[in-house]
């Protein structure tokens, strides 16, 4: 039952299910794109003038959109994976996951299918947001190799945050709770990173936090790759964060998933 070929087949089945869910529940999928697009518009058309002036001549073309667009692309990952957390939490509440657990299927396939689905969905959202940013005036200076490298970092970070979102979906008691936990990736970490302003301009406590949290090196790396600005050690830090979060998220999610589903039991006993 747990031969590798069945594991692959079951994961493919779960992936098909997840893709179908995305297509059937377009509002959920769309909000993963809408939030970053609105944020992008807000920061370019409303705050952009002041923020851009405050940044000085950072971006190669000197316009704020070039500074902020790579950050918005990374933010898209945060809102994309929150969909995954909410979907998983709903699955848990509806009992379908409990059904899967009583079947002789490869245990990992449920989460693997979900993660692959999340990766595909979020990368499509990223593509759309990149397109919108280009339409709004984002002018990257990257060549093909730099683009591929940037997309690689984006995919890697998506994978990392997806595994963490799986944990949120498993430990969040309700869909709202799961969404609440993933606000860390949707708002808290992006806004306290180098996304909108340079950490150097922040008060010392927040500056310290901004310099040592994962979003800053990832955003700086993608920004550097797309704009041709210096990257320094950000790339190494970004990859280390991605690998670290993926490993932690994967192990944590697997442990919670394999553990007895306590929430389900308590509700059933009452």
């Amino acid at each position: 039952m747990s031969t590798p070929s069945y594991a692959l087949r079951d994961s493919a089945t779960m992936l098909r299910r997840d893709v179908r869910h995305s297509l059937r529940n377009p509002s959920m999928t769309l909000s993963g794109v809408l939030t970053p697009v609105v944020t992008l518009a807000l920061f370019i058309y409303v705050f952009g003038g002041t923020l851009g002036a405050g940044l000085g001549g950072l971006a190669h073309s000197g316009s704020y959109i070039d500074y902020v667009a790579p950050a918005i692309i990374i933010m898209t990952i945060g809102s994309g994976v929150s969909t995954t957390a909410v979907n998983l939490c709903m699955d848990m509440a509806e009992g379908i996951i409990a059904r899967f657990r009583t079947m002789a299927i490869a245990r990992a396939s449920v989460l693997t299918g979900l993660v692959l689905g999340s990766l595909i969905r979020t990368m499509i959202s990223n593509g759309i947001v990149i397109g919108v940013a280009l339409l709004m005036g984002f002018r990257p200076a990257a060549d093909l190799v730099a683009w591929i490298a940037a997309l690689g970092v984006i995919a890697l970070f998506t994978l990392a945050l997806t595994w963490m979102a799986v944990v949120f979906g498993l430990i969040g008691k309700t869909p709202a709770g799961a969404n609440g936990l993933s606000l860390i990736f949707q708002l808290i970490l992006p806004f306290t990173s180098s996304a909108f302003v340079r950490p150097g301009s922040m008060p010392s406590g927040i500056r310290w936090f901004a310099e040592y949290q994962p979003f800053t090196p990832v955003i700086d790396t993608v920004r550097g790759l797309l704009l041709g600005t210096p990257i320094g050690n950000s790339a190494a830090l970004a990859v280390a964060w991605c690998v670290g979060l993926t490993v932690v998220g994967y192990l944590w999610a697997r442990a919670v998933y394999n553990r007895n589903s306590v929430a389900y039991n308590l509700s059933a006993v009452r």
Partner: protein
């Protein structure tokens, strides 16, 4: 098909199952009867590999539960209390999902899904999502999904809870058909009539302990809750009736007597004969068969409702 010895489980300091020994023979229906919170669902969750027991042993479908959970999973099907269907997939897609997960081929999966839709009267709803289904339809789809894998042993956790009488009878018929096809059923219920109707053996679970086990008839014989209620026209009739029948429960305000019986026609006739010989007029008569409350009162000395007071 199932054999457990000393099965124990607690959540925190709340003991849910406290040493359960039971045996279920292949090809039979076994009903675990008990009120809400007795531990029925926990029992199903343990036997269906969903959660681990804290102690004790169990063999399910010939495999050790703790050591070979995958072999157990391959042999069983579970339909829980809360229907576990995918709400974003149509009824048919739900069945095909199960077929894929059982590694049936494409055409075999389609064939089986079509047959199950037909058998469970879901053909018209096949292309719709479960959100549009009635409670009975959801439950039927849930059971159909369980049957895709052709399990030898099926766990049904309160299969008719919340269903209307008609859907309930449909479900009963489905269960009878399954047993006729050689499937073993482990059923939990809080309705005595359901256990009586379907099960060959019943075990009564109360506060995590089995308080009785036996065939429906064996259990019912232990329950003295059945009685005949006689309504009299006036106080003198009541007085004569009480004297004639001896040990009865008397209600002077309502002018009624409660006479315990085992519910058989013979015992009923005996009561009426004695009244007839004494020429006592009776206005009305009703027969009360034991219900779950009577069972619990007889077996445990408390009813579910009285639990708080008696403790």
């Amino acid at each position: 098909m199932i054999e457990t010895r000393g099965l124990r489980k607690s959540f925190g300091d709340h003991m849910v199952l406290d040493g359960i020994d039971l045996e279920v023979a292949a090809g039979t229906v076994f009903a675990l009867l008990g009120p809400n919170g007795a531990g029925k669902t926990t029992m199903v969750q343990i036997l269906s590999t969903l959660i681990d027991a804290d102690g004790g042993e169990a063999r399910v479908a010939g495999h050790d539960l703790a050591r070979e959970p995958d072999a157990v999973r391959a042999a069983i099907g579970v339909t829980g209390q809360f229907s576990a269907v995918d709400n974003l997939l149509t009824g048919e897609e739900n069945l095909l999902l199960m077929a894929d997960l059982h590694h049936l081929g494409r055409s075999e999966g389609r064939k089986r899904a079509a047959a199950l839709l037909d058998r469970f009267d879901l053909v018209d709803a096949a292309k719709q999502k479960p959100a549009t289904y009635s409670g009975g339809m959801r439950r039927r789809l849930d059971l159909a999904m369980t049957l895709v894998g052709d399990p030898r042993l099926i766990f049904l956790d309160e299969p008719t809870a919340g269903l209307d009488p008609r859907s309930r009878h449909t479900m009963w018929q489905i269960i009878r058909d399954l047993v006729a096809g050689g499937v073993t059923i482990f059923l939990t219920t809080q309705y005595l009539d359901e256990a009586d109707e379907l099960a060959g053996r019943i075990a009564v679970l109360d506060r995590g302990k089995l308080v009785a086990q036996g065939t429906p008839d064996e259990l019912k014989r232990r329950i003295p809750g059945g009685h005949v209620r006689l309504q009299f026209a006036n106080a003198s009739g009541l007085e004569w009736g009480a004297r004639t029948l001896g040990e009865v429960m008397r209600d002077d305000d309502a002018l009624t007597l409660q006479v315990p019986t085992d519910g058989s026609v013979r015992s009923l006739k005996a009561v009426l004969d004695r009244l007839d010989q004494a020429a006592i007029p009776v206005d009305g008569l009703s027969v009360h068969t034991p219900d779950l409350d009577d069972v619990f009162f007889a077996l445990t000395g408390h009813t579910d409702a009285q639990k708080g007071n008696l403790r």
